[in-house]
Amino acid sequence: MIFSAFFAGTGHAMLTRRRNLQRPDPNQLAFYIRTGTYCLLLLVCSNRLLAHNVGGQGTRAIEQTITENVKTDTAITVRGVVTNANGQPVAGANILVKGSTQGTTTNEQGIYIIRNVSPKAVLTVSAIGYADEVVGIVYRTAIDIKMERSGSNGLDEVVVVAYGTARKRDLTGPVSHIGPIEMQDRPIVSIDQAMAAQLPGVQVQAVTGSPGTPLQLRIRGAASVSASNDPLYIVDGVPAENLQDIDPTTIASVDVLKDASTAAIYGARGSNGVVIITTKKGTKGKSRITASVNFGRQTPEQLVPMLSPEEWIQFKKDLIDSSWVARGRSLGLPYSATDDMNYRASQLTSPSTPVANTHALANTNYMYDPYWNYGTDSLDYVDWQKAFYRPAYMQRYNLSASGGNDNVLHMVAGEYLNQDGIIPASNYKRYSFRSNIEVKLTNSTKIGMELAPSVSITNGANVDGKNGVGAAVAGTAPVQEKGMGSNSGTVGSTPYRWVADQLSPIFQMENTYNNTQLTKVLSNAYIDTRLAKGLNLRVTGGWNTSSSDYKNYTPTSVASSRRTDKPGSKSTSIRNTARNQYYLFQSVATYNLAVAQHDLKLVGGYSVEQNFLAQTSQRNSGFPNDNLYTFDQNSSTVTTSSAFESKRRQLSFFGRMNYAYNGKYLVSATFRRDGISRFIGKNQWGFFPAASAAWRISQESFMAPLSNIVNDLKIRYSWGIAGNDRIPGGDYPAVGLVNPTSYNYNGALYTGYSATSISSPDLRWEKTTSQNIGLDASLLKNRINVTLDVYTKTTNDILLAAPVTAATGFSTENKNIGSVRNYGFEVMIGTTNISGKDFSWTTTGNFSYNKNRVIKLANDNTPIYKGWDNTVKIGVDQSLYSYFIYDAIGVYTSPDMLNKLPVMSTNKLGDPIYRDVNGDGKIDASDITNMGHADPNFVWGLTNRFTYKNFDLSFLLQGQWGNQIFSLFGRNIDRPTTGLGNYNAKKVWANRFRSEAFPGDGKTPRIDASTSNLYDTRWLYNGAFYKVKNLMLGYTLNKPAFLRGLNSIRMYFSAENIWMHDKYDGGFSPEAFQYDNLADWSSYPTTKTFSAGINLGL
């Protein structure tokens, strides 16, 4: 029989068929306990420990022997240390006696004591970031427990799902999870930064490096055109606008619900996926205090290569010559590029006042600066990007205390962050607090409150976008008047006449007051009560408020540059305030029933939400002086003044059923009915169902022979419908709005009104139906964990501010216009490569592929044009954001090429060659073709983590490919005729076509190419990149001898964005992609950050 095998050898035999284990004698007590990583079998016969066996599916042996002695059942006291795989203490681990309310928590040294516990009891040990451990006491009084880190694949890991939690092993839909290990100690200011490259199917784009600005998240591709593609954020059960101003160190976990089956219970807002943020809670035990400091130094990740001053001068000369020849053409005179400056001066001379060929008086449109021959002796050469972007420092301090007793649990944390921006006079400061308190009122009722106030203060003018300073810096001409340099354009400075009379961006930043103070409170309070056995009710009231106060003051010296205006007279000041009030009232009942092999969980609830927005704005101009930026009616003129309010509401009913049979067969179904005030009449209500099922094949008996190889195997299928209501048009997208359109009669403004948007009463939800097939597997003694998902996601009734005929009197109407399908797959692999006593190495990688297709459009699939000058065409059977432009394949560098190759009627030598797509021998609008799309096909991330004794090292790699970046910023600095050389141009212009003898690089056309008003692939860049996103080295010491009273100390060095390979020179970052997701208009450069920090445990 089985026991013969069991007792064979040294008493450490393998047990393979555990299901056959029978209890040989009622007096014998058999424990068979499966923990996260290994099995423990203990047999106790007649109060005598006969044997213990450790093994089963895991091979790790408990390194302890227990003397065979007889024990009594008298209650005992158990103590021990909980450590991690490296032997470091795990503080705050919860230790519960199974089947009772008895329990405790480890202290900072990882030590626990449980008194009055039965020697036969079983302890459950859990801690955030670790897989649960289950240990039988078995008459021992000293039990040290080793816990395994849960990677992202720990099967016993608890993930947070809608309105509840689930073990990963029980999931039936695709949910990705990251815990504190992935977030800790990074020099990040918001949690979305930590999510980049960590989660399969989740693309996090740093669209701007501006401190404190939220990043862009896309879960399984974009499906909407005009409606938002942002996921829904849920912070501790309450929806939040974004993840801004939430201290990342207070976050316990991030869970992403990726498909409609898991997100449908969020109904109208679920179709872009749901990001659930759970903050750290207090646990029982002595209060633990942690303090940490972090210092970082940031520099721009990469800059845009521009012409050097010498190259710019040559470039400017060519432009001047070109203008000179053109002037001759318009006057009918035979001017030539080789005409000397004295001749030009005589031609430009007015009869009364001659134009001289001198630096001070030469005509800058048609004549060279004589100083160009003398270089920096007579002129200042400025590398504006180097002068403007400067190293910036950041510091962060965190202090938190958490703990609790039987009645009250608390977690209180505070943060101070001070991050300078890499642009002058820009800074982001944040003060944030969190208090999570839970009080047990009775045995069945708890109340709690979670409160997170924060204040953030941002200084610095707008850097991103078309009119942002970022674009201006790169484009400012690199040559200035001697001694003016970076002071150019300021009061009293001498303008350099050959360039745009542009104010120094450094001066502009340093002298413009631009301040935003954002005060936020995220809060919720709840009552959780057990109504009957298994039936629980939680009533939550959530209230989020944010109020922003924007102040801008532009003094006369910035507003009017070097003119001699009286200080104050040209000054302008702006005050904008916005107050957002959101409340949620929600009741959720849960019912759990476990009978024999059946496990049933029901959730039902409803919620009421309202969002109220109030804004005021006032602009004043003309001040008595530049000393005060505040204003009153007497000291300045009100230019505009407005107040705005809007409101939206939502009512929701939802439910979920989970049923599991024998832990093998799992099914789940959810529904949600949402009503929302954004729509009208019957379109207000939508119904969003979902269903899913999973089969844990590894639990089947036929898999038993493979149990050494396949430790766990689950396949799952899910289906669901979720919605999207986030349409542009504010809270009233379906209503025709009337707005002021004034006119003046006889010089006096008369307020007029006109309908400015078209009424669209038929507007309805955008609905996404998704299907997902997934597989979760743990292989080779859990050393390899794999999650694989294949999905399709079809979005119908996509919302678009669709163009309508001008004959309606309007240009766009909010409409449901068609269907888009995203499909793809995701792989997540976690491996434990080496797991030794001193050394361990784990790898986690994720890889996502997504493809996006428009499958149907309104009006018989009529394509819709969007983007700058209709460069984006939305058409059936192609990617949603596809660029339709000319394909530039070279330059006509010889008359022969002009004669033989297809040409446009206007083409001349030195023009770009466009590909003759339709092969008709000529180039015209019909050769505009699909040159790629904006969304990446592949996104991947790879983390390697090493530990050696007290050291740990990790690095995170990130990459993407398959996307194109259309850069209008790139185009602006890449067309010399824009601004006529008054600005700087891209480096490529040093290798331009000059003549047949000097053809340049064969890609850059002549300076006045005739087709430069068209759009071609010279401004479409490959968006692929791979980079080292993070590198971290840490050292952790427990109970350091050099400082008594300190429980632990951790020192680390962390570097962010240290190396990147990309082909993008049309802007600052291949991730910076804005303007409706259609083009890069330039951005705040992303930063490289080197940081170091210390964490102390007290």
């Binding site: 134009v355 003119r563 409101k647 707005n739 007029g752």
Partner: protein, 493 residues
């Protein structure tokens, strides 16, 4: 304790459920909606200002970019990649160009706003029915003005005379240019009947008058009589109507003693029959015109906020065509300027509308308080003379009008020998009298002179020529794209 929680929850639950229907119906708080506006007399007063508001972009787009820049009055010799006016000046217009789309949508935006009023105005109670008739007539005039611009630029266009939904709009293809003219004529006739000669209240200055309606009506007849419609019987009608305006001289309008004062801010609403009203203040109600065709380094005392556009110049062709002593030339154009470093520099530029006395008040580069004339009494005079010439040859009356204009410009009288000479004299006179006011391109088309005049210019300067198809602009491609097949494209594009 427990019971209390349960009750509490139940109460909240039932309250929320009971009120859910009303709970979701929220009207906009800070905006009026089309459901509750357009209901009262004061609503209509304000909505009418909204119709006038739609006129603000017309001078820049239609008069400058699509008319003056599309002729031999303007030249851009070097490539400017940034702006459509380069392409327009070189006659390389494509249906995708933003300026073309802007012109089309600006006009229909005005039409839509007027329709919104005209759909409801008869059902709204006014204290004074005369005022209702007047406001209705104003709206009809403005709508007719927009259609007149559309038909001149594009020929056949969709005719929409009431509010339509986006679905309904797809039933309206292009209506023939003849029908559009018939509509304009009928509308202007009715509008003239309901409009006053003058507004009693000075605060109403700038609104449409009966004279403006007659003037525009006469002009519409002239266009229908001209190329390519050639319905020459309309010359007689035009003559009759335009005469009614001339008869009001010194009663309801005045002939300005000098040419230059016509374009000064101080003389807004003094001489012209219809003007776009611009005011200063940096709120978007000012004019961009004065800074459009000027040197980019013009002294800041004239141009405090810089140019609005930076390229192109009045052509030498225009400058050389002025007769010696024509006072209008230096009121319109200059060939020298003082730059920012106070150097007098040779470059041709347009100074009309650049009123130095108000330069200091501007707040942006497109914030000039100088009205832009859409219909001048001089034009009515010259159109009348032209109509007379077409029906009866160069009569003494017609020649006298021509010479009256010339005399103010400091030029000697002329005596055209025959109708053809008179036409050529008229072409030249109108070119100089109305230079940079946006009439020239349409005059060249109307008189079927555009090929003869422009092709030599285009050949010399741009080594190209155009054909008769270019008398119309292309229908904007974005409009065609909305429902392929609904609007056909004009020939030649």
């Amino acid at each position: 304790m427990k019971l209390y929680y349960k009750l509490f929850t139940l109460i909240i639950l039932s309250t929320a459920l009971g009120s859910c229907k009303r709970y979701l119906d929220i009207a906009p708080i800070s905006n009026q909606s089309t459901n509750n506006f357009f209901k009262s007399e004061s609503d209509i007063d304000q909505a009418l200002a909204g119709v006038y508001n739609a006129l603000l972009p017309f001078p820049d787009v239609n008069n400058y970019n699509l008319s003056e820049c599309h002729t031999n009055n303007y030249i851009i010799a070097s490539v400017d990649a940034q702006r459509d006016y380069f392409t327009i000046n070189h006659f390389d217009v494509t249906p995708l160009m933003g300026t073309i789309e802007a012109s089309w949508t600006n006009s229909y935006k005005l039409v839509g706003r007027a329709n919104q009023i005209l759909d409801v105005i008869d059902n709204i109670t006014f204290l004074d029915d005369t005022k209702r008739l007047r406001e209705k007539s104003e709206a009809r005039f403005l709508r007719a003005y927009a259609y007149f611009e559309l038909v001149k630029l594009f020929g056949a266009v969709p005719l929409i005379d009431h509010m339509v939904t986006s679905a309904e709009s797809l039933n309206y293809g292009r209506t023939s240019a003849d029908s559009i003219y018939n509509f304009i004529i009928a509308e202007l006739q009715d509008a003239a009947d309901g409009l006053p000669y003058k507004y009693a209240n000075a605060a109403d200055a700038g609104r449409v008058t009966k004279l403006a309606a007659w003037g525009l009506l006469g002009k519409a007849h002239m266009f229908l009589a001209g190329y390519p419609y050639k319905k020459s019987d309309h010359y007689q009608t035009a003559q009759t109507i335009l005469k009614k305006v001339l008869d009001q001289e010194n009663v309801n309008w005045k002939f300005a003693p000098t040419y230059a004062e016509l374009f000064k801010a101080a003389n807004d609403n003094k001489y012209h029959l219809f003007e776009v009203q611009y005011i200063v203040g940096g709120q978007g109600y000012g004019s961009p015109i004065p800074g459009e065709v000027v040197p980019n380094d013009l002294t800041t005392s004239l141009l405090p906020y810089g140019v609005y556009y930076i390229q192109g110049a009045p052509s030498r062709d225009l400058i050389n065509s002025y007769e010696p002593g024509d006072k209008r030339m230096f009121a319109t154009i200059d060939t020298l300027y003082r730059n920012k470093t106070n150097v007098w520099t040779r470059r041709d530029w347009v100074r009309k509308f650049l009123d130095s006395s108000v330069a200091a008040t501007t707040k942006t580069n497109s914030d000039w308080p100088v009205n832009f004339p859409l219909l001048r009494s001089e034009e009515v005079m010259l159109l009348y003379a032209e109509a007379v010439n077409e029906t009866s040859g160069p009569t003494t009356e017609a020649v006298a009008i021509l010479n009256r204009i010339r005399s103010r410009a400091g030029l000697p009288a002329v005596t055209p020998a025959n109708a053809t000479d008179f036409r050529l004299a008229m072409e030249k006179e109108r070119r100089h009298e109305f230079a940079w006011e946006g009439l020239y391109w349409f005059d060249l088309v109307r008189t079927n002179r555009f090929l003869d005049v422009l092709n030599p210019f285009l050949t010399t300067n741009y080594q190209k020529s155009i054909d008769a198809n270019k008398c119309l602009y292309p229908v904007p491609q974005p409009e065609i794209n909305i429902k392929p097949g609904l609007y056909g494209q004009n020939n030649g594009y």
